[in-house]
Symmetry: C2
Subunit: 768 residues, 2 copies
């Protein structure tokens, strides 16, 4: 059935109605430097007669099974993610701790060259290991993983992101890379890990290893997996920052594209489990059984002060902090995007280059971390310090480094330390005179650029901790500059600086606020924190997008934003829908089906009843490619074009139509049929979704996008306005809503004032 | 055009396809005891040619105006709501404080009868005033207002809920009723107040008093008002509990039916403003200028303890607390529903009865509050108490009451006090031996029943504080019973008991958790709090619904839940859509329009182009009653049936089509047209929404409901499956999705197993 394209819109035509005949948008996007096929997910319930019959047959016990298992899965996600999070921290603290202790001991003995060599070689080996397993075993584990999970929750299924291999590499690689003193974080990879765990649990274990359970069969669909993955990502944040409420809000504000209250309670349950398990594990560690993990462990930055005194007068310095933090944050995003594009260019040359780059950055980092403190002047130990000064033999506040006895190197306390300890030092109060302002400045500049260079390497690397450490040093520096003009202590400035830099680069508000409150354990900071986050986000939004959205764009994910471009209001869906359209008859010859499946890569086909079965062509519904493949593999064919009887239908089981795990779908090439079978028929009626969402071709693109996104569709059928035409104009998919696709079809729009309206005013992104 | 109803569904018919000819659902619902018309709200963007032209003409400056004003409105909502909240607290503390001081002084002088009289008469006068202004001036201000606001955000516009009168009565009446020692709260009314303020600001001030501003004209639509009202309700909670993050989460979890990230930031901004303003005002009060408001004021229950030590072993007692709290909470809901239904029955007899009931409850409350402490034995003052014991002349912990010197009455400390002080006493730590367990039990029972009796009176009355105080006494009582079997102190038990009772009756999780954390200012409680809330909510959900949902049901609001009833999957929209359908031609005679508007009460009419303007009837779009009325009032008619030319269109202004405030819409009865005008024509094309959402008649009801709710529609057009029929089968509105309506149309469903499946299993409400 050819696509009918000459209908003139009834309304005043804004644009010429010439339509290109083929879809120029590509289903292929660039992931990293590899060209990979990206699948869309389908959150619509396929309501075909066969499934309806299955639902009717479901007993109360089965409904109970479903609900019970969904809660149990949330419980297990909480348990597993918290255990992984704890192990991560334990491993990093011990690996990096041993390394720092050995190096420090060598330096105490005056063997600086040897110390440098041990430090650099250890880091190099750890980085080499992390980047090698990432590059060769699971390239999808590189980076933070938050953009991938965010895209997944929007309906974009990048290959391999939730495989078991990716999970393993993500955990081991991240421990190794963070222990190797690279300026990268653990939180992003924990989010990805949590999502992985959730997805693997939801798929009912691994079929490859025979680990499946019948009770889990109900979760083999995209809707339930989406819920579980949202749960997993919240548990990931909860486990990395011990911030259960922050985790829930993070999943809500940043990750998810769809939300409902029932999901809120499930996620809250998962993060509650995380919080309780972590509390129990820390009880164990408090008795000193966790090596160098120590007492502080997971409440990283406890800055509670009985009366953190601040008044309305301090609002001005907070405003300043927010504005500058916003500008710095968006500059950070800008630089990071450029660096990532440059890295992608290098990575196209081969895997070896990826590893070479990682090693080069490791060596560069080691040199900076080891060398810079030598430039700092030694400070005399403060009189009456609570801690031993200088600290010897363990990671502490007052590093001796090259200094004479009775002195400490303040820059080394920050830079020659794990990131967590550096943040703890920066956040702590009553340390206003411990650091020289030049040391803090040097530290800030180092972190700023080093973290931008480090993020893009082929290893699991997060952004949260680098941004926090950079922001904290920036905040403390501002606090030092203001000096006695402000009543706030420098630790508070560091916390607010971290908030402003996070707000400027990640652009979250509520979730960052709660995460920082849970981290610092000081609720009295709340109003200041809210203010600084809102200001820095607003300022930064005037320049560029959220860091994760930038990375998603580089990776080429077709993410559907809920922001409607102005020109979409002026276009109708008829203007963008493209052909040629492939439809099936209700009872179709097997040969035709196989031919169509082989010659197209569409994932859904409209089923139309034409003569002689109906007077005029009538749209029956939409059948999914996966379901047709299941039918073909089952080989229950009809010798004549009649409907399936109930005996034939009884041969099918609902489980067989369950959605396969990512990348494990059937392929038409694997189905081999005999000549005889090809001449038989299939009745598609009972297996097609008889309630597909439809829009009239004159519907504006903006409103169709609202429907598509809010309901979470993969296919949206376009029906004609007049009744004298075939019952279907075309099918809209995710790609048809992408600005690139639309502007490609209508180049004139790029030059029109609708395009020009898109320049970024501050706040403009908030319109609808 | 008659409704075509005989089409037989293509799929296996589950139900007979006989359809009643008329819509039996009523657009009238019972509000309180009055029969009032309830309007639906419309969140769809009416994309007609006229508006599109207006959008195209908007300049960047106007877009900036819109965005800037929306943020400014959020700012003003924050400022105004926090000022009202502060005033509320100040007034209540001073009014009730003076009353308690005077009564206590009389009792110190031994004049018990006089004290009783003063106490009772003061309370009676305050209650009488509150109930009289509510009953006569603004009946919509009665109760907590949360159900009304929640229904509004779902799209149900009850009359007068956001009028200026209601706002005034809500504030004054609540201050008066709470000061009158009734066991009611301030938080619910604050939510309603916040929503009122937001709605009034969004309507651009009051036209009646000439207070309007051109910049505010863009907010005259339901979408922007919905956003602002959400903001206002969050600000209300933030102001009553000084819980800015809790307010955001409350709006998200309990109030709103639609959500997007941009809204999150705006709401967060409003509550941040609230937090900062309250902080500043409390700074002022700390210097002692606020009378009896005192130092504690708004951080009601500060129970921070340096190390609130609890371990995994305490989880068992928390489990117990949660389970019993859930059962108690659902029992509370059950009783409250019964009492409200009984009150409604009494209220039907007339306004006088409402006031009599309020006065009776006030006298009963006074008797209980004054009388019960006499039953409690006097306790000797503890040695080394930090406070003066017994307290004389001010509201304090150790009430002397009738006791001899050196003794105090522990029940009086709880019961003969403001609710806020009672909660503070219950939550405080290191008071394990201050209260006798019988006193706490008596207090619990009194609060439980008194709050159920008090809520339904005709005065602004909240539920949060009564539930917290009841739950806190329950928790403390459990803590006393467990005694040395638990390591937790009784103050902690009171906090967890309040959480469990809140969870059992209000069924929120994340928001209650954060509100309680912000109230008690103790983040270390987090994991316990999460656990107890989840358990009590789960247990209570097995018995009945959320208290607000029960109240909404009593009030008859057609609230659309996002829970799909099982039988909705088996019905198609064709099965429930009812006629007769009224359609207009694209160019219609004025007389016909007036006649149709007068004879029906539909709010939207499909516009169909028939011969001779089109070959076959074609659906052009949907025109709203309000827009037709504007057209009629404008009296720009055509002498012959032709389209409007651009000169005629230039006579209309977009502002004229803006949505009027609630209850202020035009009525067809007010439009008077001459005979000549009635014979002229109107071109409806440019004013009809050419992109209405449509579904095929074979779409399942469940999926149509998803579309209806997620996109926020008022009208959903149903198109026929086959092309040989008129272009429209009918229109679905909110009422067509109500279970009562569907079961009324299909009585057989009530008896079918689809209905039976609806029995409440625990967790079952969570299925999608």
């Amino acid at each position: 059935m050819p696509n009918s394209t000459t209908e003139v819109s009834v309304s005043v035509p804004l644009l010429s109605s010439l339509r290109p005949a083929t879809n120029s948008s590509s289903q292929v996007a660039i992931v990293g430097s590899n060209v990979c096929p990206i699948e869309s997910l389908d959150y619509e319930i396929a309501e075909n007669d066969f499934f309806k019959q299955d639902w009717r047959a479901r007993s109360k016990v089965q409904i109970f099974q479903y609900v019970f298992m969904k809660w149990m899965l949330c419980f297990f996600i909480g348990i597993i993610v918290s255990l992984i999070g704890f192990t991560n921290n334990l491993a990093v603290e011990n690996l990096a701790g041993v390394k720092f202790v050995i190096t420090s001991n060598m330096m105490l003995a005056g063997r600086f060259t040897m110390g440098f060599l041990v430090f650099t070689v250890t880091n190099l080996v750890l980085t080499l290991f992390a980047s090698a397993i990432t590059a060769f075993v699971a390239p999808a584990a590189a980076g933070s993983g938050i953009p991938e999970v965010k895209a997944y929750l929007n309906g974009v299924d990048a290959p391999e992101i939730f495989s078991f291999r990716t999970l393993l590499v993500k955990i081991v690689g991240n421990i190794s890379a963070v222990s190797g003193s690279l300026l990268i974080g653990k939180a992003g990879p924990m989010v990805h890990t949590g999502a992985c765990v959730a997805s693997i649990l939801g798929q009912g274990g691994s079929k490859r290893y025979g680990l499946t359970w019948r009770w889990l069969r109900y979760f083999n669909n995209d809707r339930d997996r989406r819920d579980l993955v949202t749960c997993g990502s919240a548990a990931g944040i909860a486990a990395s920052f011990r911030a259960p409420v922050g985790g829930v809000l993070f999943a809500l504000e940043e990750m998810s594209s769809w939300w409902r209250s029932a999901l809120l309670w499930r996620i809250f349950f998962s993060t509650a489990v995380v919080a309780i398990v972590l509390r129990a594990l820390i009880d164990v560690c408090l008795s000193g059984k966790c090596g160098l993990f120590g007492k502080g462990g997971l409440i990283m930055f406890d800055v509670y002060s009985e009366d953190s005194s601040y008044h309305l007068g301090d609002v001005l310095s907070v405003l300043l902090l927010g504005v500058v933090g916003g500008i710095l944050g968006s500059f950070y995003n800008f630089l990071l995007e450029k660096v990532l594009r440059a890295y992608n260019f290098i990575y196209e040359k081969g895997v070896a280059w990826k590893i070479v780059l990682a090693c080069a950055i490791s060596i560069f980092t080691s040199c900076l971390l080891f060398g810079l403190p030598f430039l700092a002047p030694c400070q005399p130990c403060p009189v009456g310090a609570l801690e031993q000064c200088p600290t010897i033999g363990r990671s502490g506040n007052f590093k001796k480094y090259q200094c004479p006895p009775g002195h400490y190197n303040d820059l080394a306390s920050l830079i020659f330390n794990t990131n967590d300890d550096a943040i703890k030092n920066l956040f702590s109060k009553n340390t206003d005179f411990e650091f020289h302002y030049l040391s803090v400045l040097v530290f800030f500049v180092t972190c700023f650029f080093l973290s931008i260079l480090s993020y893009g390497i082929v290893a699991p690397a997060g952004l949260f901790v680098p941004v926090i450490v950079t922001g904290a040093s920036y905040g403390r520096f501002v606090g030092m500059l203001l000096g006695s003009n402000s009543n706030l202590n420098h630790g508070l400035f560091a916390v607010l600086g971290a908030a402003s830099f996070l707000g400027g680069s990640m652009r979250m508000t509520v979730s960052l606020c709660v995460i920082l409150l849970e981290l610092t354990n000081n609720l009295l900071l709340l109003p200041m924190m809210m203010l600084v986050l809102l200001i820095s986000k607003t300022v930064a939004d005037a320049f560029n997008a959220n860091i994760y959205n930038l990375i998603m764009k580089i990776k080429g994910f077709p993410y559907l934003f809920n922001h409607v471009e102005p020109y979409m209001r002026q276009l109708t869906v008829g203007d963008v829908v493209t052909g040629p359209l492939q439809v099936f008859n209700g009872i179709e010859k097997v040969e035709t089906i196989v031919h169509v499946l082989k010659s197209t890569n569409h994932n859904g086909f409209p089923v139309v009843d034409g003569p002689p079965h109906a007077a005029a062509p009538v749209l029956h519904g939409l059948i999914l490619r996966a379901h047709i493949l299941t039918l073909l593999k089952k080989r229950v064919f009809l010798s004549s074009p009649v409907a399936f009887d109930s005996k034939a239908l009884a041969l099918f089981k609902a489980d067989e139509f369950a959605k396969k795990g990512s990348g494990r779908g059937d392929r038409i090439e694997d189905v081999e049929l005999s000549e005889e079978e090809l001449n038989m028929y299939l009745d598609l009626h009972p297996f097609s979704n008889a309630s597909p969402y439809t829009v009239l071709e004159t519907m504006s693109l903006a409103k169709a996008l609202v429907l598509f996104r809010e309901v979470g569709l993969r296919h949206l059928l376009v029906t004609p306005k007049t009744s004298d035409r075939p019952p279907l104009v075309g099918i809209l998919t995710r790609h048809d809503f992408m600005p690139e696709h639309i502007l490609g079809l209508r180049p004139s729009l790029s030059r029109s004032r609708w395009k020009r309206l898109r320049i970024r005013l501050p706040f403009l992104a908030y319109i609808d």
